[in-house]
Symmetry: C2
Subunit: 461 residues, 2 copies
């Protein structure tokens, strides 16, 4: 796993993949990229000579294997470096039929292309210098964005985000690192090319920028991944009913957004542009005999991991003492919570009076009473500003981890300087920081790192 600067593109082959969603539709787009992509498209094309066409032009014709015409298509020609991948590229817009898509791709494979791996187009774009690694990762975040905030955050990052600033600060640090290493060449002579005060100031400047980015991850993470939310309470408090009411109400809205059908939105609600992800707490329901202790333990664990707890009280079945007891236990978890008094329609007035002036939201999940007020309370718990164009926000866990590691290693550099360690140790500490920083934007990559990032992309991207 030796780190290396990213190599110039040595992929001479041409890759092909369906770039749109598979299925029956008006159009589908099949994408080719690579040195020979226009040549390979031409072998399957009856129409103008694509090789003689200008970049960014569209040509009507037919895809044919010589004997059979598979489909009438529009072919878009892109000439290097003016394409997404910076390579020669072709997009074939055919009728959106699985049979046609299959036949065209089969023919292109026969004529010299090979099937693209997941994320390979974006990987090539990165390797060819189209954008840096953090921007490439934003492409995947962009297409998976579930809310407009998440889309805007990904778009900002794809447009550059913190990349430029990180790169600039890294350049400055490299400058100092080389000066420190130069000192080493002079061995015993005790020269100091890298002024220690300037180095210290630079490191503090870098750390203060990193600090801002690191702190933005709290918001960025919520925007990208949603708020982990637990609905808890005693058996029969109405947890499932509330979950269904919340999901169904919002599901109706979600379904107006055409096709927000990701793998599973089973337990997910988008409220005010924020995704709330419900964590299953089956444990709370399985409270029988000896199993009880384990179940409660598990649920408590999940509640601790949550960012928000909706804690439900069955007002028709409880009393002040029990409520007090449950509240005390809830507070011990140290997680933000909302106290939900359910079955308010069946509660006796002693209970209701005893809870007056307390921060309870009184609902009936079954009757769908006061659900709007509950939703407002939920939203108030999460302080998210709308993401604006240009806002720099760290949403990617990998970036967050590398930023944190860089910050810590820079702290070690400062400490080494204070401790007066020798130049070679100092240089080693600085190199470590440069490595972490470089991995963020992909100026330093490893095959494993790239494999790990791009294999999570979809095919065709």
């Amino acid at each position: 796993m030796s780190p290396k600067a990213h190599a110039p593109n040595n992929h001479d082959d041409t890759i092909v993949a369906l770039a749109t969603v598979q299925g029956v539709s008006a159009l589908a787009v099949i994408r080719l990229s690579g040195k020979d992509s226009i040549k390979i498209a031409q072998t399957a094309f009856a129409g103008k000579n694509l090789l003689e066409q200008q970049s960014h032009t569209i040509h009507f014709g037919a895809i044919t294997d010589g004997e059979r015409t598979i489909d009438d298509v529009l072919v878009s020609v892109f000439k290097e470096p003016n394409s997404f991948t910076h390579e020669n590229a072709v997009e074939i817009s055919c009728h959106g039929s699985p049979i046609i898509i299959k036949e065209i791709i089969k023919l292109l494979l026969k004529n010299g292309a090979r099937l693209a791996q997941p994320g390979e187009f974006t990987k090539r774009a990165f390797l060819n210098g189209r954008f840096d690694l953090a921007q490439a990762e934003a492409v995947a975040d962009l297409i998976h964005a579930e809310t407009d905030n998440a889309r805007q955050a990904a778009h900002n990052q794809m447009r550059g985000g913190f990349s430029q600033e990180i790169k600039r600060l890294r350049e400055e640090l490299i400058h100092f690192a080389s000066l420190v290493e130069l000192e080493l060449d002079f061995g015993e002579e005790d020269v100091e090319f890298a002024k220690r005060d300037d180095l210290k100031n630079l490191i503090l400047k870098i750390q203060s920028y990193l600090q801002v980015l690191i702190q933005s991850f709290d918001q960025g993470n919520v925007i990208k991944n949603g708020v982990p939310t637990v609905i808890a309470g005693k058996p029969n408090a109405g947890k499932s009913t509330l979950l269904n009411v919340l999901l169904n109400e919002e599901r109706a809205i979600v379904s107006h957004i055409p096709g927000t059908t990701r793998d599973s939105i089973e337990d997910e609600m988008i409220l005010g542009g924020i995704t709330f992800r419900f964590i299953d707490t089956a444990g709370l329901r399985d409270t029988q005999d000896e199993i009880e202790a384990i179940g409660v333990g598990r649920t408590r664990e999940k509640m601790k991991q949550a960012s928000l707890i909706l804690y439900m009280f069955d007002l028709s079945q409880t009393n002040s003492t029990e409520i007090k007891q449950e509240e005390d236990e809830l507070k011990l978890l140290g997680v933000p919570f909302i106290k939900v008094g359910n079955k308010v329609d069946k509660a006796n007035r002693f209970i209701l009076r005893s809870l007056e002036n307390q921060d309870f939201v009184m609902i009936s999940a079954a009757q769908k009473t006061n659900i709007e007020e509950l939703k407002n309370l939920i939203l108030n718990q999460v302080h998210i500003n709308t993401v604006k164009q240009g806002d720099v926000l760290v949403t990617n866990l990998r970036h967050y981890q590398n930023l944190t590691m860089t910050f810590d290693s820079l702290s070690r550099v400062l400490k080494s300087m204070d401790d007066g360690v020798t130049g070679d140790f100092l240089a080693m500490d600085i190199r470590q920081s440069l490595h972490y920083l470089g991995e963020i934007t992909g100026e330093i990559t490893t095959d494993d790192l790239l494999e790990n990032i791009f294999s999570k992309f979809c095919i065709g991207k």
Copy 2:
């Protein structure tokens, strides 16, 4: 429902729709068509001035509402009449994200476009003379094709198919019709501008062409809609097991074709390029008490409607007399059938010997024995030639019905001539034939007819 020649396009508005399948993917294509489509795209586009660009060119830029950039996109410009619809048209290729698609379409709607109705792009292409109605219908058949034969048949029809010949013959008939009608102007004078012998010859020529088309529907229908197949037999003969074996084996192959997931391929098998559609015969299984009679009756009805019956005998449970009896009943239905001896591994050798030299295929559905031989037999029952480029094949029920009605009304014309009816009745008969013929290619349409055809298209097509 007054018939009318298809009007010139009076749609001044610009329509917009997603043209690719909704979902998460590398790309999605949003399509605009109409006089102002380039202008409307320009209002949402930061980049070059699209209005100044040549047709069939692609432009990189951003979709923006002025404050927020929604996505970086490629915009393709098509200028009338050089587009699918023959109108100004724009295709916006954005990142394949439901949120982005929604935001871009919302913005275009705000800026003056309106959401396209199902099939409206193709309808406009038809109304603007891009192709005739039979060709327009082939576009839908093309994207829904499940086999390569169905694709080729649809493609042939889209490329023209029988349209030219039908139009030419109709022109000749119109010529005669006008001569006959001219005779009417001369009232009592007993002139004969339309030579009766020539008219008769033309009608016979048209009928002989229609006959070929009408006869091709048997094949065309199988290619488009598949072979309705029933698996029948006594309870516990192994019908479900066989169905599952056939479906699962072929399902594995089908799933290699990326995304042939239509609404339901529950009971469908593609074998040798032909779709076999299994008809549920639950009735056969529900044979209890008085219900029995009804159930058997229903199943027999479904068997009669099938094009092929796989009739199963449980060889471990039957005897020669029973087999003979079942065979006799089967023959009465007049539907092609294959006799399947199941559970061959559990059959006694008397049974096996008695069936020697009989046209039984011996299998074990549970053991998956001899399934290949059964499949070959199934395929041999359906005599379908591979559809070649240029083959003219009627696959559309509407066309088939109109061709048949035209044929019959032309027979009435011939009979009228033999009966020596007066010119005005003759003219009426000819007009009826012209009407049916004209409806096929859409030279005569009604709003209802168009509504009926295009509402079955998907949105974006």
